[in-house]
């Protein structure tokens, strides 16, 4: 196993998976919150825009989103997302992969936050309105803080799914864990079980703590009513 790890530079593949996960998590949290705000707003057009986004991205396979990001944005439209230097191709693919992961998972983050909003009694927003808070203040100080605290478990589930979904970006050649796995299978098909075991173990190590952490945090952060 050690030989596999060394020969295929497995640790940098793991690091790439971690980087993809962290950036995509941050991005999808921001974008997903924004889309949730659209869906909660009193303005019909914004609600419609939010729900259309969710419908489109939730129902499109991630592979399609990833490949489309590469082929449409870079290949066809020719939009440059990285500087033209020695790592130009790697940088481009890495950034487009994050873009695709963010776009896709934001839809799920939005729905997780909305489920958090549903844990809040309607009287909270009414009380906020009755003391004169505007819609924005109401969201910022009353609704979203309680929604996040009520959405820890579903948000954790999205994060775990996201961690594993980073494997899909092999489709555009980003050198993360599943990309390393593919090369191992190609060159060392004599130790297939070890290869699969190694990859499975890697993801268990990455996601198990997330599950435990969200379980603990959801109880710790739950709003007492």
């Amino acid at each position: 196993m050690l030989e596999l790890i060394e020969r295929f530079d497995f640790f940098s593949a793991v690091w790439m998976t971690v980087k993809l996960t962290l950036w995509a998590a941050l991005g999808s949290l921001i974008l997903g919150t924004f889309i949730a705000v659209l869906r909660l707003s009193p303005i019909k057009v914004l609600q419609w825009a939010g729900s259309t986004y969710v419908t489109v991205f939730r129902n499109t396979p991630l592979t399609v989103v990833v490949v489309a990001a590469n082929l449409v944005i870079w290949n066809q439209l020719g939009l440059e997302v990285a500087a033209r230097n020695a790592t130009y191709l790697d940088d481009t693919n890495f950034r487009l992969a994050i873009l695709a992961l963010v776009a896709y998972h934001a839809a799920f983050v939005c729905e997780a936050i909305r489920s958090g909003v549903n844990t809040i009694p309607v009287g909270q927003a009414e009380a906020a309105r009755s003391i004169g808070l505007t819609f924005g203040q109401n969201l910022r100080h009353i609704i979203l803080p309680q929604a996040f605290r009520g959405a820890v478990t579903p948000l954790g589930n999205v994060l775990i799914a996201l961690t594993k979904n980073t494997t899909v970006v092999t489709a555009i050649g980003v050198a993360q864990v599943s990309h390393a796995m593919r090369r191992m299978i190609e060159f060392r098909s004599d130790v297939l079980f070890t290869v699969f075991g190694l990859v499975a173990l890697t993801f268990i190590v990455l996601t198990l703590p997330l599950g435990i952490l969200t379980g603990w945090a959801s109880e710790k952060l739950a709003v007492k009513r």
């Binding site: 009287g123 009414e126 009755s130 004169g132 505007t134 009353i142």
Partner: protein, 258 residues
């Protein structure tokens, strides 16, 4: 600020403050408010009573537009209720509202519940807001609970905090939507006492309640509603001893026999 947080509104005592004219509202096919005309004067305590489903809570919620209405007009201090947006938020800041289910912000401490409005809406300095909140919490008898969270307080205490939260905005009128209906019986009086105190201090109040004792003790007028209409509008004395309509007689007969 005059002593305890009662607002000085532009209107003089006895002037019309809240005026409803021909207000109509439907929930689907149900006509919940039928041509409501009601004038509440500065400093007046108007108690709204009536059977369940008579529209009294809806009436109360319509006055600060937590419910919309289809026709008619509502003015507060001569200003027409804005439809939405910042203007409506500003108007709501001047109209206190106390809910049946308290609706304290569950993720904020008692003190933060009371300072939120003054700081965010009135742009008061945090230390001034804290001082005001502490005073008001003392006044409603929960000063020592300031750093707890709502879930740690009894219903009666939570409702008194809710009253303090409204008072902190220095409202020109306060709406009470069945403020004691969700309380255990032994906690009803602690809330009513605070309300009586407020009434005596000259606050303009519209109170939807089933507490007939409060209506007699603190009410200037009793408005009796049935099936979406105002059926009687009289002094408590007259209403309780000499109701004019059959519906009011029937209602009083049912609740006063025990």
């Amino acid at each position: 600020m005059t002593e305890t947080g009662i607002a000085e509104s532009g209107t003089a005592p006895g002037e019309p403050l809240v005026v409803l004219k021909g207000v109509n509202k439907h929930f689907g096919d149900l006509h919940v408010l039928k041509d409501i005309d009601l004038t509440v004067h500065q400093g007046e305590v108007v108690v709204v009573i009536g059977p369940s489903g008579s529209g009294k809570s809806t009436l109360c919620r319509t006055i600060n537009r937590l419910e919309t209405f289809e026709s008619g007009s509502i003015t507060i201090g001569g200003v027409e209720l804005p439809e939405e947006g910042k203007a409506l938020a500003q108007l709501r800041a001047d109209v206190g509202m106390v809910f049946q289910s308290f609706n304290l912000f569950h993720h904020k401490t008692i003190l933060e519940n009371v300072t939120m409005g003054p700081v965010k809406v009135r742009k008061m300095k945090p230390e001034d807001a804290k001082k005001l909140a502490t005073e008001l919490l003392e006044r409603v008898g929960v000063g020592h609970q300031a750093n707890k969270y709502p879930a740690q307080l009894s219903g009666g205490q939570q409702q008194r905090v809710a009253i303090a939260r409204s008072l902190a905005m220095r409202p020109s009128v306060m709406l009470f939507d069945e403020p004691t209906s969700a309380l255990d019986p032994e906690m009803v009086n602690e809330v009513l006492d605070v309300m009586v105190q407020l009434a005596k201090a000259g606050m303009t109040m519209i109170v939807v309640t089933h507490e007939m004792g409060f209506a007699r003790k603190a009410g200037d007028r009793v408005v009796f509603m049935s099936e979406g209409s105002i059926v009687e509008d009289n002094t408590p004395e007259e209403f309780f001893t000499n109701p004019q309509s059959n519906r009011a007689k029937d209602f009083l007969g049912k609740i006063l026999t025990h």
